[in-house]
């Protein structure tokens, strides 16, 4: 009702479907933010700003990789908006590869962690990074599906919402890590 009310009168009866999808996706992000926020709150409730030893170089490295993947995802979306299919394919492929590197980096961090899941910090660390990594993996799956459709000739400057939606989801995963990285790696001091 509020959306329809905010649209010009001639569009109120038939609101832009892409805009409605965009609003729906933002509502999904809002609900996901509550989930991620609760885990973030639990981290500070259980441990204050204290933390166990983590590999700072690895943490900074995977953070830069994830930020870089957001740029390649942005490039892919912008390219398809301008019918630059080759660059769009390249952008999606690079995003998928960078996502895989990030997931592998989290796996290395898990396998080399000097604390167990039975400790308070271990509980929050494995829960937060596990929840986030599950979203990274689902994002990679969605990116692969979008890439397959793009390679099959779907999508153009006038019809590319699936790519925009997947790329927005990927950026959301990046936004979550923007808060999780300092909360897990930096707030106790480097």
């Amino acid at each position: 009702m509020a959306v329809a009310a905010s649209l010009p009168a001639e569009h109120a009866a038939h609101p832009d479907p892409v805009r409605l999808k965009r609003i729906g996706l933002w509502l999904f992000f809002f609900s996901e933010s509550i989930l991620f926020g609760l885990f973030l709150s639990a981290r500070f409730y259980l441990e204050g700003i204290e933390a166990e030893h983590l590999d700072q170089a690895l943490g900074l490295g995977i953070t830069i990789i994830l930020l870089l993947s957001s740029v390649t995802a942005y490039t892919a979306e912008t390219a398809i908006e301008h019918d630059r299919r080759g660059i769009a394919v390249l952008g999606l492929v690079l995003t998928i590869l960078l996502g895989l590197v990030f997931a592998a980096g989290v796996g290395v961090e898990w396998s080399t962690a000097e604390f167990s899941r039975h400790e308070a910090f271990g509980t929050v660390f494995f829960s937060m990074t596990g929840l986030h990594a599950s979203h990274v993996v689902s994002g990679i799956v969605l990116l692969v599906l979008a890439l397959i459709q793009l390679l099959r000739g779907r999508f153009s400057s006038k019809d590319h919402w699936p790519i925009s939606g997947v790329v927005m989801y990927w950026h959301f995963v990046d936004v979550v890590w923007v808060f999780y990285y300092p909360a897990l790696y930096l707030v106790q001091g480097v």
Partner: protein
């Protein structure tokens, strides 16, 4: 390649903020100042991503923005 310029500028900004927050965490001894500084940096980075990469303004402006 001008259509990608804003994205690359934002990327440079995000990279600078990431390095700054790492140095900040290493250099600032006061826990409260460190927490607040890192929270501010994270908020700024999230804002940049949501505004420029996730096209937040398109929610109320519509899809004409490219």
């Amino acid at each position: 390649m001008g259509i990608f310029r804003i994205g690359w500028l934002v990327a440079v900004g995000l990279a600078i903020l990431t390095v700054v927050e790492y140095i900040f965490a290493a250099e600032v001894a006061d826990a409260t100042a460190r927490f607040l500084g890192l929270a501010a940096s994270a908020g700024l980075k999230a804002g940049l991503i949501m505004w420029f990469f996730m096209h937040l303004p398109r929610v109320w402006r519509g899809e004409e923005v490219h």
